[in-house]
C-alpha cells in the first residue's frame, strides 16, 4: 500500500508540475465541451428553417361541405378514429396538422350561443405546419365563422410544439461523445507517457530494480491515471452544466430544460465510471506498447467505441437496433456510459439501467486492473 501511494504521488507530481498537462487536464475538457456546445448552438440558431417535405395532415369527422375545401389544402381524411395518436404525431412532427370536428357537428342557427368548436392541432416549430394552420384558419374565416368557432376550448393546447424535446435530441447527439472525447485524449497522453514512455526511456527498468513489487508499481501508476480521469471528468461536468444552460438559451426553449439533481448525479457517475473504463483500456494499451508512439497510434482505435453509439443513435435504423438491445446496452462498458448519457439528456433514463452501467463499468475496471498487474509480471512485456 505504501509503495502504491509513493508511486501514485510521484506520477501526480510529474503531471501537476507540467503546465501544459495541467491545462489539458483541468481546462481542456471544459473548453472542448463548452466550445463545441457554443458552436452547436450557433448552428442550431442558423438552422431553424427545416428542409421542405411532403405535407401530411388529417381531418376527422368533417361534414360534407368542409371536405372539398380541406382536400384542396392537401389535408386528407384520417385513416381511423385514433384521435390521441394523431395529436401525438403532431407533437412529434410526424404529422403537420390535425383538424378535428365534433362528432355531430352542426352549423348553428343565427342567434345560437353554444357554437360547435373545431380543434386544429399544429406544431409551431415546423414551418409547413404553421403555413397549413394559417391556410385552414383563413379557410374557416371565409366559411361563415359566426356559425362555429375554431380552437376555442380554453383547456386545450393547439400548438403542440415541444422545444425542449428538440433541444434534448440535439444535445444527446453530441454531448456524450464530446464529454468522453476530452477525457479520452488526456488519459491517453498521460497513460502513454507514464508507462510506455518510462519503458522507452529506460526509467521503468530503474523502477523494476527497486524492491517495489511489480503489481504495486502497476497499481500506483494506474491510480494516478484514474485520479486524472476524475479531474478531467469534473472539468467536463462543469462544462456540461454551463453548456446546457447556454444551449437552452440559444434554442429559446421557453423555461429551459429542467434537469434535476438526480439527472446531474447520474450524469456525473456515468462520466466518472465511463472515464475509469476508458482509462483502464488506455493503461492496458500503454502497458503492451513498446513506446509512446505505438501507444498513441493504437489507442485512438478505441475512440470508435465512443463514436459508434453516439453517432449511430442519430440514424433511425440503428436507433431501432439500439432499442432492440434493450437492457444489454447497459452491460457493455463504455457503450453503456454513452447510452446512459443519452438517456439522461433525453430525460428518459431508468435508475436500474444506471445501476447496471455503474456496476458493469466498475467490474470492467477491476478486471482491467488485474490484467495490468498480470502484464507487469510478464518479463517479455515490461523488460522490452
Amino acid at each position: 500500500m505504501r509503495d502504491i501511494i509513493t508511486v501514485a504521488k510521484k506520477e501526480l507530481k510529474t503531471f501537476f508540475s507540467d503546465k501544459v498537462i495541467l491545462f489539458q487536464m483541468i481546462f481542456l475538457p471544459f473548453v472542448i465541451i463548452f466550445g463545441y456546445s457554443s458552436l452547436m448552438s450557433g448552428i442550431a440558431k442558423a438552422n431553424t428553417e427545416p428542409e421542405k417535405k411532403e405535407v401530411k395532415a388529417y381531418y376527422m369527422n368533417a361534414p360534407e361541405s368542409f371536405k372539398d375545401p380541406l382536400e384542396n389544402l392537401k389535408i386528407k381524411v384520417a385513416p381511423d378514429n385514433n384521435e390521441e395518436k394523431y395529436i401525438k404525431d403532431v407533437k412529434n412532427k410526424e404529422l403537420d396538422l390535425f383538424v378535428i370536428f365534433p362528432e355531430n357537428f352542426k352549423e348553428a342557427q343565427p342567434g345560437q350561443t353554444d357554437l360547435s368548436n373545431i380543434d386544429i392541432y399544429y406544431n409551431s416549430e415546423e414551418s409547413s405546419s404553421i403555413e397549413l394552420f394559417s391556410g385552414v384558419t383563413a379557410l374557416f374565416t371565409t366559411m361563415q365563422p359566426q356559425i362555429f368557432t375554431v380552437n376555442a376550448s380554453p383547456d386545450k393546447t393547439y400548438d403542440l410544439v415541444d422545444k425542449d424535446a428538440a433541444f434534448r435530441d440535439l444535445i444527446s447527439s453530441f454531448v456524450p461523445l464530446m464529454a468522453f472525447f476530452a477525457v479520452f485524449m488526456i488519459c491517453m497522453t498521460l497513460a502513454a507517457n507514464s508507462i510506455a514512455g518510462d519503458k522507452e526511456n529506460g526509467f521503468l527498468n530503474t523502477l523494476l530494480v527497486s524492491p517495489i513489487r511489480r503489481k504495486d508499481l502497476a497499481i500506483g501508476k494506474s491510480v494516478s491515471i484514474l485520479i486524472v480521469a476524475i479531474i478531467a471528468s469534473l472539468s467536463t461536468f462543469v462544462g456540461i452544466i454551463l453548456s446546457l444552460r447556454k444551449l437552452s438559451d440559444a434554442i429559446n426553449s421557453g423555461e429551459g430544460v429542467k434537469y434535476g439533481v438526480s439527472e446531474y448525479l447520474v450524469l456525473l457517475m456515468a462520466l466518472v465510471t465511463g472515464a475509469f473504463t476508458l482509462a483502464a483500456v488506455l493503461l492496458i494499451v500503454s502497458t503492451l506498447a513498446k513506446n509512446v508512439k505505438q501507444a498513441t497510434t493504437v489507442a485512438p482505435i478505441f475512440l470508435f467505441f465512443l463514436m459508434i453509439p453516439s453517432l449511430l443513435s442519430t440514424i433511425p435504423t440503428f436507433e431501432s437496433f439500439i432499442k432492440a438491445l434493450g437492457r444489454k446496452n447497459y452491460i457493455i462498458p463504455v457503450w453503456n456510459s454513452v447510452r446512459l448519457f443519452q438517456d439522461v439528456l433525453k430525460l428518459d433514463f431508468s435508475m436500474l439501467n444506471a445501476l447496471i452501467t455503474f456496476v458493469s463499468n466498475i467490474i470492467a475496471v477491476l478486471l482491467g486492473a488485474l490484467l495490468i498487474g498480470h502484464l507487469f509480471n510478464k518479463e517479455k512485456i515490461v523488460n522490452g
Binding site: T6, K10, D198, F203, T206, V209, S210
Partner: protein, 258 residues
C-alpha cells in the same frame, strides 16, 4: 561473510517466427545462459568477461531478479533470489548504462522518491542525501531537470540512486559502455570504493583492460557457458588477459570441431 552463490543457472528465450528467420534456425528457443555456476565474495570485484552475445546481460538480469531463470538457483547470502525477489532487490544495486533516471524529474526529487521506495527513514535519508550529493558533486545541479543534464551528470545521478539503500551487492552490466574517459574513470573509482567498503561487486564486460584494472577474480563466458573461473593471476599466468582469453577461445573452438 557476504557472498553470492550461483548454481547451474539456465535461461532459454522462446524464439518468435521472426527471430527464427533472422537467425536462420528452426529451433524454437535460444539458450542464452547454459548451466553456469560461480561464487562472488564481499570485498571483491568479480568480473564476467565475454564477447558479444555470450550471455552476460542475461546472467546479470537474472541476478537482479528482472528475469527468471528456467532452472538453477541464486542465493544472496541465504536469500533465495527466485523466491524472494523483492527482498533481494532491497539489498542490491543493479546498474547498466541503459537504466535511465526519470528525465522529467530533478536529481533531488529522484533521490527522495527512491528513498521512499526503499523505505529509508526520512531523517536518515536526508542526512545520507547531503553526504552522497557532496561526495558525487551533484549539489550544483541537484534541482535541475535531469533532461537538461549532461550524460556524465546523469550517470552520477544513477550511481547515487543505486546506492541509496547502502546495498550489500553491486551488480553492474557493462559499467563503462558509451561513457567518455572522464565518466568511465569516475565509474571505475566508484566500483573500487564500493569494494573497499566491503561490498560484493559483480561486473560484466567485454573489455579486458577493465577486468585487469579492477577485478580480483573473473569468469570467462562463451556461448552461455563458463569456460574458466579463477583469480586474475591464475587466469593470466604472466600473459596479458587478452592473450590468455584468445588461447582459451582457440581451444574451445577446436573442442567443438572434435
Amino acid at each position: 561473510m557476504e557472498s553470492l552463490i550461483v548454481n547451474n543457472l539456465v535461461k532459454k528465450f522462446p524464439l518468435s517466427k521472426k527471430q527464427r528467420k533472422k537467425l536462420y534456425t528452426s529451433e524454437t528457443e535460444k539458450t542464452a545462459v547454459d548451466n553456469i555456476s560461480f561464487v562472488a565474495k564481499s570485498g571483491e570485484v568479480f568480473g564476467l568477461l565475454g564477447t558479444n552475445g555470450a550471455g552476460k546481460t542475461t546472467t546479470m538480469r537474472m541476478l537482479a531478479t528482472l528475469i527468471k531463470p528456467n532452472s538453477g538457483q541464486i542465493f544472496f547470502n541465504d536469500i533465495n533470489a527466485i523466491e524472494n525477489p523483492e527482498k533481494v532487490r532491497s539489498q542490491l544495486a543493479f546498474l547498466t548504462t541503459d537504466l535511465k533516471p526519470d528525465m522529467k524529474s530533478t536529481p533531488s526529487a529522484m533521490y527522495d522518491f527512491f528513498a521512499e521506495l526503499y523505505h529509508i527513514p526520512r531523517n536518515y535519508a536526508l542526512e545520507r542525501k547531503k553526504q552522497l550529493f557532496s561526495e558525487f558533486q551533484i549539489e550544483p545541479y541537484a534541482e535541475t531537470m535531469i533532461a537538461k543534464l549532461s550524460q556524465g551528470q546523469r550517470q552520477k545521478v544513477s550511481l547515487v540512486i543505486s546506492v541509496i539503500h547502502d546495498p550489500k551487492f553491486v551488480i553492474f552490466d557493462e559499467p563503462t559502455n558509451g561513457l567518455d574517459i572522464i565518466a568511465a574513470r569516475e565509474v571505475r573509482d566508484f566500483i573500487i570504493s564500493m569494494k573497499k567498503n566491503g561490498k560484493c561487486v559483480i561486473i560484466s564486460t567485454h573489455l579486458f583492460d577493465l577486468v585487469e584494472k579492477i577485478c580480483d577474480r573473473a569468469a570467462i563466458i562463451m556461448d552461455g557457458k563458463i569456460i574458466a573461473n579463477d583469480t586474475l593471476d591464475n587466469l593470466m599466468q604472466g600473459r596479458s588477459l587478452e592473450d590468455a582469453f584468445y588461447e582459451m577461445y582457440l581451444k574451445q573452438v577446436k573442442m567443438k570441431e572434435v
